[in-house]
């Protein structure tokens, strides 16, 4: 019914995906490619979280734990089985299996009784696991985490082409137009090494998983989930086993989260409690999904991209604003302290739950 206007949403998502596809050639530098890869990983994570939150109406605080299980699966496989791909795939599979089984167990215990138990129990279990992982330092490296090796083909030392590929550097554009920077500075060189291959592995996996989740949400399964979210009792009355559907989506979601974690581990070649587990990441994830828009996988794409960019730019903006008001309004300056960026995002989060429950994606869709 809102089809004509949803072109705007499609356009925004297409721009983001295109930018990610071309990221190594558009934004030179290690940091830019790193940010792009993180965005890809978190898109998968956020979209899988949205399967539960947006489609099934279940709040979980253990999603990052499942993410971490996939990541630690890869890390432990690399440490114990070696850096070759089959071992890492096995590790990712094992992490995913553990995540799915645990999700099913938590679901059986809590969703059967009251859906609200699920939120509380996942919070408790996730924090217990996070503590456990940082304590079992013999196995997990504790607080320091684990650094490990990935297949040669994906590491920076692997060179695929003798000559670098041409790329662009849009950041140099103002210098060329307004200053006297040479035209050549608009171009950059992109090395066709294992790091680039790793980036495209992450990117391609993201596309595949995103398409898979999109497919799932428009399938009969996704329709039933939404029916349950809208009216649990009616869905039950029509004859759907509400609990089974909920547990199923929890397991699927946990499995995909674990895969995202595995990708993240491959990209970072490191896992640690602060990087792949823990409550702060869970909070980030909630902000991404809710601000981006619950109930559509495209919301995750937008939310993650916005969040990752905001994290960098909002802090710069706040620092500038703080400098501007510091002399006259010291009280306001405290609130604009760059470290307080999370407070403003938190407020935005609350306001979006009240006023734009469909998030930015929902706004774009309805064209208002």
């Amino acid at each position: 019914m809102t089809a004509p206007r949803s072109w705007l949403l499609i356009a925004v998502v297409a721009v983001i995906l295109a930018a990610l596809a071309a990221a190594p050639f558009l934004f030179p530098g290690v940091r830019a490619m790193d940010t792009a890869a993180r965005i890809c990983v978190f898109i998968v994570l956020a979209a899988s979280y949205d399967l539960m939150l947006g489609y099934a109406g279940i709040v979980s605080f253990a999603h990052v734990m499942f993410f971490g299980m996939g990541a630690y699966g890869v890390a432990l496989a690399s440490v114990h089985l070696g850096r070759e791909a089959p071992g890492l795939i096995l590790g990712a599979g094992a992490g995913m299996a553990v995540a799915v089984v645990l999700a099913a167990l938590i679901g059986l215990f809590s969703l059967r009784v009251r859906a609200i138990f699920f939120a509380m129990i996942t919070l408790a279990v996730a924090s217990a696991v996070a503590v456990l992982v940082s304590q079992l330092s013999g196995l997990t490296g504790g607080e320091d985490g684990l650094s490990f090796q990935i297949p040669r083909a994906l590491s920076p030392s692997a060179a695929y082409l003798p000559d670098p590929l041409p790329g662009l550097d849009p950041a140099a554009l103002p210098g060329v137009v307004f200053g006297d920077a040479p035209m050549e500075s608009l171009f950059s060189e992109v090395r066709a090494n294992g790091k680039l291959a790793a980036y495209y592995l992450v990117f391609a996996s993201m596309l595949v998983l995103l398409a898979l989740m999109r497919r799932l949400t428009v399938s009969p399964f996704g329709t039933v989930l939404q029916a349950i979210r809208e009216n649990e009792f009616r869905a039950e009355a029509i004859g759907y086993r509400v609990v089974r559907y909920r547990i199923a989506v929890t397991c699927i979601s946990a499995g995909i989260a674990a895969l995202a974690g595995a990708l993240y581990a491959v990209w970072l070649r490191y896992v640690g409690p602060d990087t792949v587990l823990g409550f702060p990441i869970m909070v980030d994830l909630l902000l991404m999904v809710v601000i981006g828009g619950m109930g559509t996988v495209w919301g995750a794409v937008i939310g993650v991209t916005l969040f990752m960019l905001a994290r960098g730019y909002l802090q710069d903006l706040m620092a500038a604003a703080q400098g501007a008001v510091a002399a006259d309004l010291p009280a306001l300056a405290v609130l604009l302290e760059p470290d307080r960026w999370l407070m403003w995002l938190g407020l935005l989060f609350i306001l979006s739950v009240y006023f734009f429950p469909a998030g930015i994606a929902g706004r774009l869709k309805s064209g208002r």
Partner: protein
Amino acid sequence: MSDAAPAHAPRIERAGLSGRLRPLIPWLLVPAAILLGYLGIWAQASWPLLEPVLNEDGTLRTRVFDLAPFDVRLSSWLTLTVSGLAMGMMIFVMASGLTLVFGLMDVINFGHGAFVAIGAFTGITVLLAFPGLAGAESLAANLALVGLAALAAMAVTGLLGGLFERIIIRPVYGAHLKQILVTMGGLIVAEQMIHVVWGPSEIFIARPEMLKGALTFHGAAIETYRLMAVGLGLAIFLAIRAVLRHTTIGLIVRAGVQNGEMVEALGYRLRLVFVGVFIAGSALAGLGGVMWGLYQEVVTATMGAEIMVLVFIVVIIGGLGSVEGCFLGALLVGLTQNYVAFLEPKAALVSDIALMVLILMWRPEGMMSAGGRR
């Protein structure tokens, strides 16, 4: 004088011994946990003796009958029991409001931890403002100061609770998903506000002079402060129970937990009662925060979110809406945590999860689920 038809004889007359014991089982779990804790400590002391020994003739011999004496580590057990009870009481103080708020209006507040942290920071500020009273070697002066800190914390968190209910929670009555998200958002913002008001780092605090020491009892060192926490927690539990049982407001609250609609249909303004309970619960969370801060001797902005993990476990195993269940659940969690931390430090938090799993397998709605109609 009963002339009711026999077919309608009251069920209680037919209930057997097991029926009458059923409600008592949760109460028996606490002494059972204390006993189990002792057995665990004793077994650990005995463990090396259970390993087989090689006899001179080459056969193996176990020394099953050379177990550790029964009073081995009795003092450790005593110390752990008191600190487990103290911890349990503090968690109870923090959790009691949460469970009642849920029972009354089906509202789950994930931001409850914010009141714990803000209460702790407020109380600590008061304590630091009067170093003279804190350092005085007079129990009266120390207690007066702690009392003042507690009152200040309760006033601040009670007030904030009222605002939180009005601004954050009221617009999302009846919508669990939004409630969880919005109250979580409230927690994020509140934590950041703590940083704004009290600065980015944690604050260390020493207990007032006379609350620092320990009593020695049968060779066990028992901190005065823990005993005080046990006493205060017990007093608060008894006070809440008395209010619930013997006042009209308490009657309305208990009835409202079971069937809010009927309470309204009898002419009571349940919303108003709910706001009162929310404010009282927030104030209690603030008080719990002060107690917890003095117990840990450090306060951090994230302490609320951290303690919420235990609070949720307690509320779930107690049964949402039940103050008594919450009390027993808190004691069980506190004791388990302390015994296990002594026996195997890494398993402490996992043991609470295990406790929760066991109790939910036994009673899926928690030990003393109130109402249970939703």
